[in-house]
Symmetry: C2
Subunit: 156 residues, 2 copies
DNA sequence: ATTGCTGCAAAACGTTTGCACCTAT
DNA sequence: ATAGGTGCAAACGTTTTGCAGCAAT
């Protein structure tokens, strides 16, 4: 058990609903907490299989949905039609996606924090969540760790 | 030809690149301009087939990509892993997605307009684009046109 | 004459589902 | 005992690809 606090949150959530407490679900949680950065459901499944965990694809997909529901992870989408997840322990942040090299840079700005609830108030909704993605290109191309890889793929 | 201005933009764009000017591409453009609201590539393909246009799926997908490149349409993603497109003639706006009923409300706010380029300047990028999605729930449930449909699907 | 584009079908991809067995309650 | 969860494989829906023929340059 990698993180007792997270496991407790999941256990409480499962109890509160009509969900059963199964070892597989905690295995998925462990794998999630170990994963640095953003990952797709299938990435996680492959990783767990490589580590000889005994889980099925269906269970991974199902469990990730539960982890979203109890706010342990967040869903993200960076425009490639693959649902990405990330650990929700760090504070809320937004993403900049580099169109040149694919890097995803996380940033924080207090300016937009209250924005969603303001807009929702105007429109008669209750804000639940938001996602702000900025698509950009890196100016300082040399400083980019994907530079060589990108260069290789360029057709001059 | 539904919109001569748009067709001219596409023609110029195709000429500028090494892309050929084919009737199919203008057929796709016409269908796009006629479509109100957001649509997936396959939605458009089905629509065109129903209207007895002679186009293939591959051509629709390919052409939509070209239309994005010449800024006639925009890619959107509302979290369901389906690439949605929309006409880019109206001015830049953002989206609020209702988690209760699936409605997508477009809104405009000057507050966030300069935000992406500011952030990019700080981080050493050049802003190209951004997308802000707010996920929310409708307070005034009666005023929602999807209310009955949603109610039907609820399990009390 | 080239070279890119088209249509078609099949493949690929991430994701969901159906089913029989299993297990937490 | 019984609902709910699991693993597996097959199905699904969207998107991409391979290829032979066609058409714009």
């Amino acid at each position: 058990m990698k993180n007792h606090q997270a496991a407790e949150i999941l256990r409480e959530f499962l109890k509160r609903g009509k969900n059963r407490i199964t070892p597989e679900r905690f295995d998925v949680l462990d794998a999630v907490l170990e994963y640095k950065g953003h990952f797709g459901a299938d990435d996680l499944y492959i990783l767990m299989k490589n580590q000889n965990f005994q889980v099925s694809r269906a269970t991974v997909y199902n469990t990730l949905e539960l982890l979203v529901q109890c706010d342990l992870i967040r869903k993200r989408n960076f425009g490639d039609n693959i649902t990405k997840y990330e650990n929700n322990f760090k504070k809320q942040h937004d993403h900049l996606i580099c169109l040149d090299c694919g890097r995803i840079v996380e940033f924080n700005s207090s300016k937009i924090k209250e924005f969603p609830s303001q807009i929702c108030q105007e429109l008669g909704f209750e804000a639940e969540n938001y996602s702000l993605n900025i698509y950009a290109k890196c100016k300082n191309i040399k400083g980019c760790k994907y530079y060589m890889q990108r260069k290789k793929n360029l057709t001059p």
